[in-house]
């Protein structure tokens, strides 16, 4: 598999979109009437959160691929997607916390369904890597991790339904069926930011996959050229290799 193909173009597109998004955020989108400058963190925070949730679900879908075919490539894809989503999710949580402090006066607000359900999802996925690490046999590690990824992927939307029902809305609704309540210029900026972050996710995902594949290829080559002893065996690891 060649994950490197198209990577340069994709990287350039990502950089361009993110630059455009930042430009729009700082020079085009109007200042929010009651929140002022701090509201601009919204253009980073919300896309990060949305992309990470979609990434978790993507990880579940890719894990279905592993369970159906048994090819390690699918497990690696699923692993990298969940790994990236965790990083994006933590970044989203931190930016959200900053925004909450600025606009509501608290770092953490319990009666806020979106925040709480996001925390629950993160807590669940935080166990993904310890679970992988606790299983030594690589084939079993992939299989169990895939079962976890599928279950947790289905858990993400269900969790949001349950927590959202439990509490009243404090969090501004961004993407509603009626189109939300954003003025046009803010909406455009938001959509460009969302696209930028989504592209960033895909780019990083492909880079990580390319790196993992190259590393595996180098090991295989070295083993066939220099003999079995020249390559140190891999230590136990949470990552598939």
């Amino acid at each position: 598999m060649t994950y490197g193909r198209g990577l340069r173009g994709l990287s350039l597109a990502t950089a361009a979109t993110i630059s455009l998004a930042l430009g729009l955020v700082f020079f085009y989108a109007p200042l929010d009437a009651d929140q002022g400058f701090v509201q601009k963190i919204f253009y980073i925070h919300v896309p990060l959160a949305i992309v990470s949730l979609c990434g978790f679900i993507l990880g579940g879908l890719l894990a279905i691929g592993y369970l159906r075919t048994g090819e390690r490539q699918w497990d690696i894809r699923s692993y990298v997607a969940i790994h990236m989503s965790l990083i994006f999710g933590i970044a989203g949580l931190i930016t959200g916390s900053i925004w909450a402090k600025a606009s509501w006066g608290h770092w953490w607000v319990w009666n806020e369904p979106t925040l709480v359900s996001f925390l629950i999802v993160l807590l669940l996925y935080a166990t993904y890597q310890p679970l992988r690490f606790a299983i030594e046999d690589p084939e079993r590690q992939s299989r169990y991790a895939s079962v976890f990824a599928v279950t947790a992927g289905a858990f993400v939307p269900l969790n949001f339904i349950a927590v959202r029902l439990a509490q009243q809305y404090v969090h501004p609704r961004i993407l509603t069926l009626s189109g939300g309540n954003l003025p046009g210029s803010m909406r455009l900026t938001f959509l460009v930011s969302l696209l930028g972050i989504a592209l960033l996710f895909v780019t990083l995902w492909k880079y990580e996959l390319a790196a993992k594949n190259t590393r595996a290829q180098i090991r295989a080559l070295r083993r066939s050229l220099l003999g079995e002893e020249s390559v140190r065996p891999l230590g136990r690891s949470a990552a598939p290799s």
Binding site: T127, L165, A166
Partner: protein, 219 residues
């Protein structure tokens, strides 16, 4: 069916898991009494205390669920038997469900005696319905998580750590559904919204567990 019979027989003979779960939940009620420093509780607090106690007691059962299979090679024997692999899920989940029902038969009256302010009589039918749905959730997720955890190192840690976040929506729904039942001037019927959420949760995870469980057994 045979696996279920074996599990229930084993529990009857060794008398190991369920008494421990019952004892644990009663001790937890006492701990809550001192931790909250209240003689009686009602409403949302009562619903929460009852649900959390049952959840943690269930975790004890979850940790024990596959121990006999693992220690005595029951998995290999099961895989050699000419039956569908999902039978294992259904049998184990039924066994866990039965354990939970026995636990609640003792723990809920004990809760009524020790902590609950209002009388347990009027809300009992509604409470039974809510707890039955909660037990399905606990049994299904518990079995799935236990099957994942049993083949890992540090399995006693992995099980609850994965299981508890997965069960949070069920916990929310159960505690919310039980709250008006346990209130001082409570209604007799649990709120339909939360019962529906709990039922949806049960349905989704039962189907999901059925779909993925096969992959946890093949070796």
């Amino acid at each position: 069916m045979t696996v279920l019979r074996k599990d229930l027989l084993l529990e009857l003979r060794t008398f190991e898991t369920v008494p421990a779960m019952i004892l644990f939940s009663i001790v937890t009620f006492v701990i809550f009494h001192f931790g909250l420093n209240q003689a009686t509780i009602d409403g949302q607090l009562a619903g929460g205390v009852l649900t959390v106690t049952l959840l943690f007691a269930a975790m004890l059962g979850v940790n024990r669920l596959f121990v006999a299979e693992r220690e005595q090679g029951g998995f290999d024997a099961f895989l050699l038997a000419p039956v569908d692999r999902s039978a294992m899920l259904i049998a184990k989940a039924s066994a866990l469900f039965a354990f939970l029902v026995v636990l609640e038969v003792v723990a809920v009256p004990a809760f009524g005696l020790l902590l609950l302010g209002p009388s347990l009589g009027p809300p009992l039918p509604g409470l039974i319905a809510v707890l039955a749905l909660a037990d399905v959730a606990l049994a299904v997720i518990g079995t799935l998580v236990s099957a994942i955890a049993v083949n890992t190192r540090a399995r006693d840690l992995v099980g609850p750590v994965i299981g508890l976040p997965l069960l949070i929506p069920a916990l929310i729904a159960t505690a919310r559904a039980a709250a008006p039942l346990l209130a001082v001037h409570g209604s007799g019927a649990p709120p339909g919204k939360w019962v529906a959420v709990l039922a949806l949760y049960d349905l989704v995870f039962a189907l999901l567990a059925y779909a993925v469980f096969d992959f946890l057994l093949e070796d």
